[in-house]
Symmetry: C2
Subunit: 437 residues, 2 copies
């Protein structure tokens, strides 16, 4: 089958055979299929979708394009969590050591910031010395020792997905449910996990803002996982506001440590405990979800989760003293409050705009070569529905210089709408979704 | 506006501004917009279409990407004809000198064979010495002298269309009405014409087989022409059979000369006279269409059209003796009849398959570098609905060797279905379409 025919058949709504998808994608890898043909294919998929069989074939060819980790010598049911990405989402930093401290191994490979959203790897790297570039051998060794490792996806994992993602990112073909689902699941399936909890974000700061579409994405990922014999559970959670207060790398580490000490913002703790309970259940670590949640809350409150985090930081070369005293983390020289322009109610937060403002400040990458400033970012004090008083601080900007601080203040003010009406917002924890069997 | 945003906006069904289309396409030409981004854009256009304003902007940027011919010093209303392409369509060779002989100037730039369809330029080049690569200055000079020139589209005409077409050809984005219409019209508008007759083919040998889609293509092209102040009239004509009998370059020249002598197949003469009458009317050369048609028939029958063709051939370096004695044209050494396998009625002809069989025989190009054999091709003696008798010749193959002849006989037999039922076929001359004003 020629690449042309494959594009044409997808365009015209025919179901491609697994062999056709495999041949097209392997042709892309070895240069026989041109990038412009793949771009046309991706846009056709955007409009036509993928059938279950097509989706499975695509995941399979992406998964087989690289290494897969075998963690058979790590005892227990390995459970990971994946979030579809948002602003202020530092849950992985808390959740991974927390669940590992409860005896459920967590093999976690994370990404860097993408577009307006932050990345776990970038956040971890704001801890002085912390290395996320472990070899797969070191990853396995640490899994055996600590039941948890927090690393960046290596180049050996699903290289085809990396090429496809880079192409989607410049051809406006990112926002396709089957393409998002296959990208995420091919990487996760390569990690050596047995079960997975998905945190699928909805709201204006999510890549798939409409809750119904977020649910469809969740169901698509669950179906892929199940076809590989992995148990997958998903939650739709709110991204029509930043999660927690801190946005920015070191600021989010500080907030994560607060949560690991039993404190931190209520919404961050709630999402963390909900996902932790689900992971513990999948890992056969508790008799029921309520018990699992209580165990997780106790591990946050009594310091076990924090201690596991300290061990992970030390094992991965990080400076533990910066966890024990977060004043030793990178800090920005300029701090400017953002004052409410009027008295009223926070009726909406443009989370995507806040994420982009953080990128502009230096907390993320405007392009692949940009260097991140770990110290900069925001504290956003308000949530939709909060009452605010004119002149009171609704947020704080942490910046490297006065100019970028001033720009960020303007952008934050514009992103937080204060009005008189009621605020319509998503439930923090939305539907729990499981395989429909 | 970034190229990404332009692709995304088209993908999501927003109307692009003229500036956005111009900037995207100029970016493609100067390398700032990548081929894969254009490929994704073209596929998005396949699904979303183009609004009238978008279409106009695309035509404009293609037209302005190259030279345009000014024929103001050629007296009269310049009228051209364009066919959307098919098998055995040699009408241009007859029509252009015919209409010019009636006093209406015809500035005709044609293409080469494309896919299964033949090209006027390839046919003309089977006349020994005939040159289609005139400069635009020579084109203008011949227009003044003979009122007609038959040349290939030069590299200076709409180079952006050429790049886009090459990309569409490998990304399965050819079959899009706005992309076909803008491609054709940008080239035609660059020719210096005042009015245009479109021969839009329908049927299985056409690029847009369904008559309703062919009509939509016609209306789209008419709207573009009218927006440039050009009068455009279209006919839908049948391409569920080859036009005339001959398929192949020299064979089609011979048949054209027969028609220019007042003979030739009835369907070829009918299509030619219909289009000629329309061109004469658009060129203000007759009081009504019946009169125009009678004038055209007379010019075929009394030798005026042939004499103009001889003058054109001579002016463009061709050997006129090969027109006067067509036995001097290239001829194939092998001639094999295709016999009817049974007695019955021709119920269907797979015209596309016949076109592809002709390409395989050497009458067209399987790839851009292939060299055409001007001598090879077919005579197809039957039309849908004809009664045939087992063993009688329904076609003749003209080939360079026995092997390719044998393959072509098999392919032709398979392409002509003989059955017992009624044949369903299109009217030779379908609807006449004009601007809806």
């Amino acid at each position: 089958m020629s690449p042309y025919r494959t594009v044409q058949r997808k365009r015209d709504g025919f179901e491609l055979t697994p062999a056709e998808i495999t041949s097209f994608m392997n042709g892309y890898r070895d240069g026989h299929v041109a990038e412009y043909q793949v771009a046309a294919f991706l846009m056709a998929v955007f409009f036509r979708g993928l059938t279950t069989a097509e989706l499975h074939a695509l995941v399979e060819v992406m998964l087989r394009s690289g290494d897969t980790v075998v963690l058979d010598d790590v005892p227990g049911i390995k459970v990971d969590k994946h979030s579809t990405g948002g602003v202020g989402d530092k849950v992985s930093l808390i959740l991974a050591p927390l669940v590992a401290s409860l005896g459920v191994p967590v093999p976690m490979m994370s990404g860097r910031g993408l577009g307006h959203s932050g990345g776990t790897v970038d956040k971890l790297e704001s801890i002085p010395g912390f290395r996320t570039d472990l070899t797969l051998a070191a990853f396995r060794a640490q899994m055996k020792k600590l039941g948890c490792a927090l690393i960046a996806q290596t180049d050996e994992i699903a290289p085809l997905d990396r090429s496809l993602y880079a192409l989607r990112d410049v051809t406006a073909t990112v926002e396709s449910i089957p393409l998002i689902a296959s990208s995420i699941m091919s990487k996760k399936l390569a990690e050596g996990l047995d079960a997975l909890v998905l945190d699928v974000k909805a709201g204006n700061g999510a890549f798939m803002p409409e809750p119904a579409r977020a649910e469809e994405l969740a169901r698509t990922m669950i179906a892929i996982g199940e076809s590989y014999g992995k148990r997958v559970v998903a939650y739709i959670t709110a991204m029509d506001r930043p999660l927690g207060t801190a946005v920015g790398n070191a600021l989010e580490v500080i907030e994560s440590v607060e949560c690991l000490r039993g404190g931190g913002p209520a919404d961050l703790r709630e999402v963390t405990l909900t996902l932790a309970a689900e992971m513990v259940m999948l890992g056969d670590g508790a008799p029921d979800r309520d018990a699992a949640r209580s165990m997780a809350a106790a591990a946050l409150d009594d310091g076990r989760a924090l201690e596991r985090f300290r061990q992970i930081v030390r094992a991965q070369g990080g400076d533990v003293s910066a966890i024990d005293d977060t004043d030793r983390l990178p800090a920005a020289p300029i701090r400017v409050d953002v004052a409410a322009a009027r008295t009223g109610t926070v009726t909406a937060i443009d989370v995507r705009a806040i994420g982009l403002a953080a990128v502009a400040l230096g907390a993320g990458r405007a392009n692949l070569k940009a260097v991140i400033d770990p110290a900069v970012g925001f504290l956003v004090h308000v949530k939709p529905g909060d009452s605010v008083e004119r002149g009171h601080a609704i947020a704080q900007v942490h910046a490297a210089d006065e100019d970028s601080a001033a720009r960020a203040v303007t952008e934050l003010s514009a992103a937080i709408t204060i009005g008189d009406g009621d605020a319509a917002f998503l439930p923090l924890i939305g539907p729990r979704i499981t395989a429909s069997r």
